[in-house]
């Protein structure tokens, strides 16, 4: 196998993360695409204080938050918007391929209704989630000195994408 091309990595990632078993949505190809989605987490109701927004990749951004009651508990939400659902699936595969763990637990169908396709980590705290919703890939991670569950933040993000999708 030639590892000098991305295709080999994507093929390996498809096998590692059971790509063929991914949900294709309710009506593959008919889903709405979301454009210029901008996450907006209200600190008063969520307890997450917004720090800053940074550019991530070609069509994404990373928002940084910390808990209002504990600034050492921080989180990062990477939102990457693709032109199509198919491109977003490839984007999710690329993200997953950078994981040194061979496999990751699925979250969408197992424990939580999150995204069309979602993966968590091997920890008990839910410090890390990456999911796909429509044409958007979201990667949420705990990045503070104090580890913290980011599941709530991920769900709020997913809910906002769903709202944007329904309005599209």
């Amino acid at each position: 196998m030639n590892f000098s091309h991305d295709a080999a990595w994507l093929e390996a990632a498809k096998k590692r993360f059971d790509f063929h078993g991914w949900s294709q949505g309710d009506d593959a190809g008919q889903q709405h695409t979301v454009r210029a989605f901008s996450l907006n987490i209200d600190s008063d109701s969520t307890g997450w204080a917004f720090e800053q927004r940074a550019v991530y990749g070609d069509s994404g951004y990373a928002d940084y938050f910390h808990r209002l009651d504990d600034p050492s508990a921080r989180a990062m939400v990477r939102v990457t918007e693709y032109d199509t659902r198919s491109a977003a699936e490839t984007g999710l595969l690329e993200t997953l391929s950078m994981s040194m763990a061979v496999t990751l637990p699925r979250l969408d169908a197992v424990r939580n209704a999150l995204g069309d396709v979602a993966f968590g980590g091997h920890d008990e705290l839910d410090q890390s989630v990456v999911f796909l919703r429509a044409n958007i890939v979201v990667d949420v991670r705990s990045i503070g000195d104090k580890p913290i569950s980011i599941l709530d933040l991920a769900k709020r993000t997913d809910a906002q994408i769903l709202t944007a999708e329904s309005n599209a």
Binding site: F3, G60, M100, R141
Partner: protein
């Protein structure tokens, strides 16, 4: 919005007409005029003294136009570009066209005086010509006409019952004439116009004569636009998430174009930049304000106002972006907001346009603003709602934090008032002003009269000081200095007549100084009275206190320096406009800043040798530095109409050439300056006569010279060359970097620029003491030739850069100069951060691709890399020290949840190192946090060692037969962990890695040493067991000393080989045989991820 009318607007209620900077004047076409009583012409007999003046603006200079006239009695006006005066039946007196010309679309103050024998004509306060005129004119009953034949504007026409002397003509330009001298004062700055003279003659407007309101502004015409020049750094939206604000005053006059641009940065169709424009909404039959980020297609973000923008009125519009939310404001009221993702594309430099949008790379006439713009302010931060209101009604100071640009179109020439950069008007854009009907004048405060300066000071004491002025002794004891200055001014002109004129001006000014100081046009004296600094300005018409403050608030020396600058500027303002100046606290602070500008400090060093030519040069320097206009605004306290006339006049002079007329007008100012200079306090250090202007380390962009490496601060900030200029006080402000491999065999050079105040025949040497590892600079003679600045290349002959291995040091040079072998005098101290690396940095870092290249070595990285590898002299040492630091010295920890990368990410098809975020983590503990995986560790090590001159890359090991399976591992110590464990153990994981990435040397194959900061392995004889373990970090260890498929297998213990793979991977068929080197990951720049 800029703070040029602050003093006026602060005291006015919202909605006051003067807050929009408009003024009223009488609009005339060639067939209209104003008419008054024949009695207003009763003085024009040719037998009695009189004067007549007018403020007038022509829109097309006619062959003959009369500012004021009476048929068969007299006429005063213009003939083409000349001013004329004529008594009926006597010869016409025409102005000298070689001295001054009337210009279209410019306000001119014209004046004629008659003393019974001679008519003198003045243009803009300056005497133009004088011609004998003898005869008699019979009065008649024809009405006196004002503005007949004029196509343009008339603001004021006055008739005097005296022949005004030259000083009064200049004074009356802007200030109130002496009581009792006026016979008629026809004021068209109010609606309806009125005669404010003693007879209150009636005024009627004939035909199309009508009072109008003029709002100074730029008109784009049909297809014009405004292009800021030299403003590449003003780049709102360029960094995709950078905060900004744009606030503008706009007047839409037509709905011709559906989209009318106000301010754009980049092409509307590109995925970069921002724009603010109005767009027609057919549903509302009106325009709405639009703020755009990125393109106007699907990938961009557009916020449309709920409010509409009316045509035919001035509207204040603004947009702000705080990094997350884009907002709109209309007339100071918050309108709408939306959250926005980043602009898709980064743009390092701006592409600004005002009044039209860029479409497909060029300004588009189809988007030209059909109307006017008064001012556009650009900020590098999001203004608050309160600030939006504040800066709508009271302009921001040019020093306001975050104010990047204030494009002001209320006077000519238009400039960015925040930095002095010029603005280009193109394709028909003109500073014409917006004209509209004048509202009736109801508030007397709108009448512009010069304020009387009130200091609260004892007027008797001022009168006493005035009466006791005596500079005769000062002049006698310093006559040589005055002689030199005069001779220098005279020598500057070639024409004998010019020389004579300058000589006469000096003689006249010196005579007045000795015999009658108050006859000088302006003189300043300083007094310390009752614990106060008191600065008094003396003019022929009287004296006033220009400044008073508690003596303890400003030291004597500072006060003296402030006086020097004040004397120059106030004297110039007085010389050309007759307007008096005062000092305030803000002016003092501003002057203090001016004095730090090296070129200006050098001019001030003229001292007692100050000439009128030098005064003019000083003006020009202030102008080119963008300092003249704000300084004038701080020194004069007048109404807006007067203000813009004064500013425009002075800027025009400063931007022009020093004609004999201008230089001779400045002689008195030079004389006054010298008198102030000679009163230098004993506490004051002498002004330097040589100044260090700059130091350049990386002065040769071609790389031919032996100079410093080309470096930058970080991704978004480059390091300009020269690296050091005055004001860069800390070492990190003026950094440099050298490779030991380069400086060990050749002496590197630097370049320094030295300024002197005037050309000299004396020998000037410079040297630098100290310098740490850069070493002292030996004395060297600076050859200035006939110039006042010189750049010299200096060898670092005493450097010890190569002696300490990798390092960074903060060093300081004490720079000195020496004149003619005299004593060495300090002229500056410069501090520098010096980075020393092994050899030229390797990928991802680059050299020689232009200073804008973001892959140049970052000092943000060198700050850490040089410290982590301090004293290293070999690449092995560097790689080992940095690997060790990354593994156990900066608090990183492994991502046990996913093994995901936190500091790499894709962009434009390339996987990159999020280096800026990692530096942020190192500095603040924030960034993307302390969690990492192997890719992060390998990338950090690679980037940090390669910047020091090593050459490693990130490279992979995995199961090449089926990369989806991974390989199982032994118990290891993952970075940041203290417990030996297999990674991702069952049942969730396989007890190993899907892949592993390390910093690798050579061909990244079996025998090539690698560096792995991500984990420690067991270096004992049984690395596959469960303990006890002997921890060892993988530094300079070959991937494997065994064959790809070792035999026997499993490998027997004791295992003693120095071999990485066998100590990482399990000794089973799922481990070691599946751990195969496969080279660099694709799309990683061959394992050297570009930095962002």
């Amino acid at each position: 919005m800029l703070n040029d009318v602050e003093n006026q607007t602060d005291s006015l209620p919202p909605g006051d007409p003067r807050t929009d900077r408009s003024y009223v004047a009488l609009s005339l076409d060639s067939l209209s005029w104003a008419q008054t009583s024949s009695a207003a012409g009763s003085l024009f007999t040719g037998q009695v003294q009189l004067s007549v003046d007018a403020w007038i603006r022509f829109n097309g200079l006619p062959a003959n136009a009369a500012a004021i006239s009476q048929a068969n009695v007299f006429s005063f006006g213009s003939q083409g570009p000349a001013v004329y005066f004529q008594f009926y039946g006597l010869p016409i007196v025409l102005s000298d066209l070689t001295q001054a010309l009337l210009q279209d679309d410019h306000w001119h103050y014209i004046c004629a005086t008659f003393d019974g024998a001679m008519v003198r004509l003045y243009i803009d306060g300056q005497l133009n010509t004088g011609v004998s005129c003898m005869g008699q004119v019979s009065p008649n009953t024809n009405p006196v006409l004002i503005g007949q034949g004029v196509q343009g504007l008339v603001r004021r026409v006055r008739v005097y019952n005296v022949a005004l002397p030259a000083t009064d003509v200049l004074n009356n330009m802007y200030e109130t004439p002496t009581a009792g001298t006026l016979a008629g004062d026809f004021d068209f700055s109010v609606n309806p116009p009125v005669d404010r003279g003693p007879s209150a003659f009636p005024l009627t407007l004939q035909n199309n004569a009508v009072p109008i309101k003029v709002s100074p502004a730029v008109s784009m015409g049909t297809t014009g636009f405004v292009r800021p020049m030299g403003e590449k750094a003003i780049n709102p939206g360029g960094a995709q998430v950078d905060p900004y604000s744009v606030q503008a005053w706009v007047y839409l006059s037509s709905a011709l174009n559906p989209l009318q641009a106000i301010f754009v940065n980049s092409d509307l169709t590109l995925d970069t930049g921002i724009a603010l424009y109005v767009q027609f909404d057919p549903a509302a039959s009106a325009y709405r304000l639009v703020s755009q980020r990125g393109s106007n297609g699907d990938s961009g973000q557009v916020l449309i106002s709920s409010a509409t923008i009316a045509t035919g009125v001035w509207t204040n519009v603004a947009t702000t972006f705080d990094g997350l939310n884009l907002s709109l404001y209309v007339n100071g009221a918050f309108d709408s907001t939306q959250s926005c993702p980043p602009i898709p594309l980064y743009s390092q430099t701006s592409d600004l346009l005002i009044g039209a949008a860029i479409v497909q790379g060029i300004p588009s006439g189809a988007t030209t603003l059909q109307g006017f713009l008064r001012e556009v302010d650009v900020w590098s931060r999001a203004l608050s709602a309160t600030e939006i209101v504040s800066f709508m009604t009271a302009s921001p100071d040019v020093e306001s934090p975050g104010l990047q640009a204030a494009y002001v179109f209320t006077n000519s020439p238009a400039r960015n008032q925040a930095n002095g950069h010029p603005i280009g008007l193109a394709e028909g854009a003109v500073l014409s002003g917006q004209l509209g009907p004048a509202p009736p004048t109801t508030d007397e405060r709108q009448l512009e009269v010069a304020e009387t300066v009130k200091s609260g000071f004892d007027e008797k004491l001022i009168a006493k000081i005035r009466s006791e002025l005596d500079f005769s002794e000062l002049h006698r004891s310093n006559s040589a200095a005055f002689d030199d200055a005069a001779a220098s001014d005279i020598a500057a002109f070639d024409n004998p007549e010019d020389k004579r004129r300058i000589s006469e001006a000096w003689k006249d000014a010196r005579r007045k100084l000795v015999e009658n100081p108050t006859a000088l046009s302006m003189l300043t004296t300083y007094h310390k009275l009752n614990g106060e600094h008191v600065l008094i300005v003396h003019r022929p018409r009287g004296s006033y206190v220009a400044f008073r403050a508690d003596a303890s608030s400003i030291d004597d020396c500072t006060m003296w320096r402030v006086r020097l600058v004040f004397t120059l500027i106030a004297g110039t303002i007085d010389a050309f406009t007759g307007v008096g100046s005062t000092l305030g606290d803000k002016a003092i602070v501003f002057i203090g800043r001016i004095l730090t500008v090296p070129a200006i400090a050098a001019q001030m060093a003229n001292g007692a040798r100050m000439t009128a030519s030098s005064v003019f040069l000083f003006l020009g320097l202030l102008y080119t530095q963008g300092l003249l206009r704000p300084l004038i605004l701080l020194l004069i306290d007048v109404g807006f109409w007067t203000l813009i006339r004064v500013v425009a006049n002075l800027l025009l002079i400063a931007a022009g050439i020093g004609t004999v007329r201008i230089v001779s007008s400045l002689v008195a100012t030079a004389v006054t300056f010298v008198t102030v200079y000679l009163q230098k306090p004993t506490s004051c250090d002498p002004l330097p006569t040589a100044t260090l202007a700059s130091i350049s380390f990386d002065y040769d962009p071609t790389g031919v010279a032996v100079d410093a490496l080309t470096i930058r601060r970080n991704f978004g900030t480059d390091i300009s060359v020269p690296e050091w200029t005055p004001g860069r006080a800390t070492p990190s402000d003026a950094p440099c970097a050298y490779a030991i491999s380069s400086v060990a065999t050749a002496i590197p050079n630097i370049q320094v620029a030295i300024n002197i105040p005037s050309a000299t025949t004396h020998t000037v040497k410079i040297q630098a003491l100290g310098g740490g590892i850069l070493g002292a600079i030996d004395p060297i003679t600076v050859n200035f030739g006939s110039a006042t600045s010189a750049t010299v290349t200096l060898p670092l002959s005493h450097h010890t850069l190569a002696a300490g291995g990798v390092q960074f040091k903060d060093v300081t040079w004490t720079w000195q100069y020496q004149v003619d072998g005299g004593t060495w005098t300090n002229m500056a101290s410069s501090s520098h951060r010096v980075y020393v690396i092994l050899t030229t940095p390797t990928q991802p870092w680059q050299q020689g691709a232009g200073r804008g290249n973001q892959q140049l070595p970052w000092t943000d990285v060198l700050d850490f890399a040089c410290a982590w590898a301090a004293s290293a002299t070999t690449t092995d040492q560097v790689a080992s020290m940095i690997t060790t630091k990354v593994n156990s010295g900066i608090n990183l920890t492994y991502d046990l949840a996913r093994g995901a990368s936190f500091y790499t990410g894709p962009s434009a098809g390339i996987n990159r190192f999020l280096c800026g975020l990692f530096v942020d983590f190192l500095r603040t503990g924030l960034g993307n946090g302390r969690t990492v995986n192997c890719t992060d560790c390998a990338t950090i090590v690679t980037s940090f060692v390669n910047i020091l001159g090593c050459n490693v890359c990130t490279s992979l090991m995995l199961n090449s037969a089926d990369p989806s399976t991974g390989f199982t591992c032994n118990q290891i110590l993952a970075i940041g962990n203290t417990t030996w464990a297999v990674p991702f153990p069952p049942p969730g994981g396989i007890g190993g890695f899907s892949y592993h990435e390390v910093a690798w040397t050579g061909a990244t194959s079996y025998s090539d040493p690698l560096y792995d900061a991500c984990l420690q392995y067991d270096s004992g004889t049984n690395p596959w067991g469960t303990g006890p373990h002997t921890a060892q970090l993988g530094v300079k260890i070959p991937f494997s000393a065994l064959a790809p498929n070792p035999t026997p297998f499993p490998i027997p213990t004791p295992f003693t080989a120095v071999s990485y793979r066998e100590r990482l991977a399990a000794n089973t068929t799922l481990g070691i045989p599946r751990c195969i080197p496969v080279g660099q990951r694709p799309s990683t720049n061959s394992g050297r991820r570009p930095v962002v």
